[in-house]
């Protein structure tokens, strides 16, 4: 079962190298998703299946989608059908597809073998222990996280808001008259 770990690690390193060498942000994000999926498989083999699920949901899901939304907002004006067609070339998606196929093959192998995905030496730390620890000794950290998330929401709203152009009413009347 150690082979599962090594293949996932190789996929993670390869896709991360592809992320930092791309020129197109969307291509980089495709490889970034593959990298997060590979790291999730590594978590699985290390005996942290709940963290693997969280990695996929939050990193590969929420954060990447957020970045994609912002990219779409930034060049909304200059998009056209021709470039959309250009984006769907096979050379764009074949790399991430191959790397994800490797991960899928690993998943199929694990399910078909019917064994626990961890390496034999590793004892899984299940989500129940994590929850007991999170809301026991680490309760202060959870509260601090809540405060930080609130600050993050307020900060993102404040920064992302389009500032209305404030014109004095004298100038407004003059511009209306002119």
């Amino acid at each position: 079962m150690e082979l599962t770990f090594y293949i996932a690690a190789a996929v993670a390193v390869l896709s991360t190298i592809m992320v930092i060498t791309r020129y197109n942000i969307i291509h980089a994000l495709l490889y970034l998703v593959v990298s997060f999926l590979a790291v999730a498989v590594v978590f699985f083999t290390l005996g942290a299946p709940f963290m693997a699920a969280l990695e996929i949901i939050i990193y590969a899901g929420a954060i990447v989608v957020l970045i994609i939304f912002v990219i779409m907002m930034l060049n909304l004006t200059q998009e056209d059908v021709r470039r959309e067609k250009e984006w769907l070339k096979p050379s764009v998606w074949v790399g991430p597809a191959i790397l994800s196929a490797v991960l899928l093959a690993e998943l199929v192998y694990i399910v078909a073998a019917g064994t626990s995905p961890q390496t034999e030496a590793v004892v899984a730390v299940d989500a129940k222990l994590v929850g007991l620890s999170l809301f026991g000794p680490y309760i202060l950290g959870v509260q601090l996280c809540g405060i930080m998330l609130t600050a993050g929401i307020v900060g993102a709203y404040h920064l992302g808001r389009h500032k209305k152009k404030v014109i004095h009413r004298f100038l407004q009347e003059r511009s209306a008259a002119a």
Binding site: T16, L46, G141
Partner: protein, 102 residues
């Protein structure tokens, strides 16, 4: 306990962190720099998971949840900052934002 996967996993965390660091240093596109920071945070979380798995304690996974929360808050504020920079400077070049003005 066989040490091989643990050492290899720590090595993987180190390699991913270095890759993210290299990308922060060589890139000038500000969105790429944000992505690289995400890679580095992910590598740090991986190191915590490895440590928690090595000593069979939940603390490593708790720390990973905190890192995850921090990354989510950081990326939302960072993207809002990127939107502001783009609206003010009309570019994503990080060197264009090297001055400080009110």
């Amino acid at each position: 306990m066989s040490g091989a996967p643990m050492e290899a996993a720590l090595l993987l965390a180190g390699v991913l962190f270095i890759l993210g660091l290299i990308s922060v240093l060589i890139r000038r596109n500000i969105i790429f720099m944000l992505i690289s920071v995400e890679i580095m945070l992910n590598a740090a979380g991986l190191a915590f998971i490895v440590a928690g798995s090595r000593w069979v304690q939940p603390d490593g996974q708790v720390m990973f949840i905190f890192i995850l929360t921090m990354a989510a808050a950081e990326v939302s504020v960072g993207l809002a900052l990127i939107l502001q920079i783009y609206h003010q400077l009309k570019t994503l070049d990080s060197d264009a934002a090297s001055f400080m003005k009110g």
